[in-house]
Amino acid sequence: MVIIFKTENLTKSYMTKKALKGVSIELEKGKILGLLGPNGSGKTTLMKICAGLLRPTSGEIYIDGLVPGLNTKPVVSYLPDVNYLYRWMKIRDAIVFFDEFYDDFDVKKAKKLLEFMNLDENSKVTSLSKGMLEKLHLTLVLSRKAKLYILDEPLGGVDPVAREKIIDAILDNFNEDSSMIISTHLVRDIERLFDEVVFISQGEFILKGNAEELRIEKGKSIDELYREVFQDA
């Protein structure tokens, strides 16, 4: 069993507010983890720490045995929940950019994905709709052969048809040598992807386990479980 991602008592504080309160988790190679919780629960904070954008206040975190930072950036493929590409870029420029900076970027795969997502290489990034942007970001992120993929709300603000395309793209392009963390609050559409799930609320893990075992144990889908757990959120 190879552990790709591990946290131990991880905390993150902003001044007086605690965004993460001592969370511990492990993720094996080849598994997809669903990080589920309402807005402001700490999902993005945890993902940004994994991506090396935030520093934890205390506790431990390892990606492929390394503390997040310069050494883990080549093996982590991160999809933030915002448009992070330069405004002057066309889709073609974004592909070239990723190809130049990431050794594991596969241009052929990117072009195939662009075709699958019906995206035109000559389109300007600023002219794309929210759904198209999400598809482009996903194309860039999945075209890398990373050890850990981190997808922050990949379905946020995307119409149902595009959602299906995005989920299909994730399924088709995920390989057993990698692991993936997906955060979402749109659980129903995507729960079939998850091997493991973690329910997070106010910076704490309130429920975690194997997705299939939880379904059997609770007699409910993950979506139903999510609604039950976060009914007051």
Partner: protein, 264 residues
Amino acid sequence: MLRLLKYELRGKLVFLGGTGIILAMLNLFIFLDCNVFRAYKYEEGINLAFSMMLGFAAMIVVIVGAITRLEKDLYSETGYLTFTLPKSGYSILGAKLLASFIEIVEFSILNVIFFALQIVPHVHISKSDISLMFKLLAENYRFILFTLFMMILFLIIFILMVYFSLVSVRSFSKRRKLGKAASFCVFIGLSILIGFTIGLLEKAFPQIIKLNFNNFNTHIVTQNIQIDTIGEVSLNIAASIFSLILPFILFISTSFLIEKRIDI
């Protein structure tokens, strides 16, 4: 770093290209107004004053652009792209510094050209004047290089001080408005601290070194060129060494903060 540099330059290409074109058009307008439409005469020096003002304004635009280059990555979404790249703090900062430096040098050259264009039609420069100028340049290259070096050093220190102020504040504050005001305060504090340190060093170690550019202690007057200069420059040794080390200290500490401390 060179790849990053390419994208840094590309990112400001349209903005600075536009600024350059506007600068050129306004200079052309001043040139025509002075030489063709005759709204004012060259002798009044108004065209030169306008050209200098335009050049000054353009330099402010370029320097503000250099500052916002890092500020944007620290406070907007592009930071997610820049700071997840497998590039060290040195590379990221080095690319930004170099790009800013290139742009400032580019616009300095443009300003000199536009200013010269305002003068050239009114000054008769003979072949002997030109050969004299080249002779002076060749004879006094040490002084010219020294002056250029000092200008570049102060420019780099200035940009690095701004970058250090931005990054150090971003290391403990996420709020954009508060961050900008705090960065300005840090910059002022840092300027005072550096000035104070130089003063202390000059008092504690008053030894000076005299750089004698003895070729340049000339007073030359030809028909159109007059050059008066001093041939000797005195430098406090301790303060000079500090000024030479300072950019390295600022660069290393800012790179460290970028790589290890900032929260995006």
